[in-house]
Symmetry: C2
């Protein structure tokens, strides 16, 4: 969303001034002339930040709140889960025993990335802001270790916790944390560029000054956009659902009440105030 | 060589103060107790910047000046040719019809990269400094177009010459030229990091501020070290020799006379004063 309000070329057109902010959402059908949907159906789609959305049904999916709780459709079983799943496994290609480091590790995507990496038998280190988030990813989610970037020297801690270097760095943050990880890249290490929240708000972009680690370490830095993987979504949903059911995958959502608080909810991400997937509840189920 | 005189972790140990600078060279055997080599044999190896080298024969190859002229063994048929061949084809993976852009295009590696890309039926744009080098790569080497970074706006020219974006950017330079290329990256474009001569001499490294193009364009930036490909050297030599013989691959060497001028010869690269592969002749053949 933050990138969409810049007037620059991106993977989607910007959202113009006065337009409805693009957003994934869940809703209940209140009227329908489409035979695929009946009044009362629960649905997910790109409904935008608004109370009512009009759609021809394209890209809208029926969901069942009796199978999994509704918020999970916007988190582990939604775009967040897909992002973690395909970004880590397809772009990062971690092998058992490798060291995986993830930034914004207590965030929605990061938490899923770390847990999938553990399921794949990797050594997993999460970077998060503050003691509570670090406790959460290690004690509740099962990461091997955490680095509190607000109170610790990230470079020094990466040297201690990744003695053989970083095989996969899954980056949601950019900035100094990306540079610290590049400096510890293992031979043939992979950097997955998922986001750069440290950079979106800056007027002057600063690039990763340690990018020549890619040369010295024969490394690879690669971006991906989860939308490209939508044809394979069922594959991810099947596997993620299984892990949810087994209790191997946990998630946490952070719900802000009220449509009018949506801009403030977005702003929370830039201060690291959210704990888990940031959602906005715009109405109660009837 | 410039990286080796920094006291930092790299793909090889640094060269210490007072040590002989590491260098590939050609020579003639003047004395031998190794049955593989006889007095008078022409040989190539990592002999260092010095008049006489002592070796146990490991990594030393006999060469034949009657097959190809001697300098080519240090250029197209040496590490330069291997670097261009494996960096472009293995890391860059250009497909016929794709747009390949190479920086330092009139330099030793860049000239070979561009010619191989033409042989592979790509649209090839070279970035070089000055009108003579631009003329050389287009008229003599057959590149489709050239950009004179000393006198033209690289970003603007890339937009004109690569209307569909850059599929493969082979970078020897780093700095602003890397940023300009990232800004024009095509969907699933690949950036091959071969070197960063614009950066080696700077105290403060500056990273590519447009690296998020990798995310938006699902791109990949990857480094490589030619030494990793030595087991496959014969494959490259066979193909490069064939292209040399066919006249499809041309090269140019720039010879500085005298061992005492070796440091100055290295410095020429940083001002773009060399025309083709920079060599130093330390002695005439007897």
């Amino acid at each position: 969303m933050r990138m969409w309000i810049n007037d620059v070329r991106s993977y989607m057109p910007p959202v113009g001034i006065g337009e409805v902010m693009r957003a994934l959402g869940l809703g209940i059908v209140t009227a329908s002339r489409n035979p695929r949907f009946a009044v009362g159906d629960h649905v997910s789609g790109v409904f935008g930040v608004q109370e009512y959305a009009l759609t021809d049904g394209k890209g809208v999916t029926k969901i069942d709140p009796r199978v999994v709780p509704l918020p999970k459709y916007l988190n582990v079983l939604g775009m967040t889960g897909m992002t973690a799943y395909f970004g880590l496994l397809d772009t990062g290609q971690p092998k058992p025993g490798e060291t995986v480091v993830v930034s914004a590790a207590a965030g929605a995507v990061g938490a899923v990335v770390g847990q999938i990496a553990k399921i794949k038998n990797c050594h997993v280190v999460g970077i998060a802001g503050g003691a509570e988030k670090c406790r959460y990813i290690v004690q509740d989610l099962g990461f091997d270790a955490a680095i509190d970037y607000k109170n610790e020297d990230v470079g020094k801690r990466l040297r201690e916790l990744c003695p053989n270097g970083i095989d996969v760095f899954f980056d949601n943050v950019g900035g100094e944390i990306l540079d610290a990880a590049l400096a510890r890249l293992a031979m043939r290490g992979r950097v997955v560029i998922c986001g750069a929240i440290a950079r979106y708000d800056q007027k002057q972009m600063v690039g990763p000054k340690n990018y020549l680690s890619l040369l010295v370490q024969r490394g690879r830095m690669e971006g991906f956009i989860v939308l490209d993987y939508m044809p394979r979504a069922a594959e991810a949903v099947a596997e993620l659902s299984g892990w949810l059911k087994d209790g191997r995958l946990k998630d946490r959502v952070d719900v802000v009440q009220g449509l009018e608080n949506a801009p403030a909810a977005l702003a929370r991400l830039f201060k690291g105030e959210n704990h888990g997937k940031q959602l906005v509840r715009i109405a109660e189920a009837p």
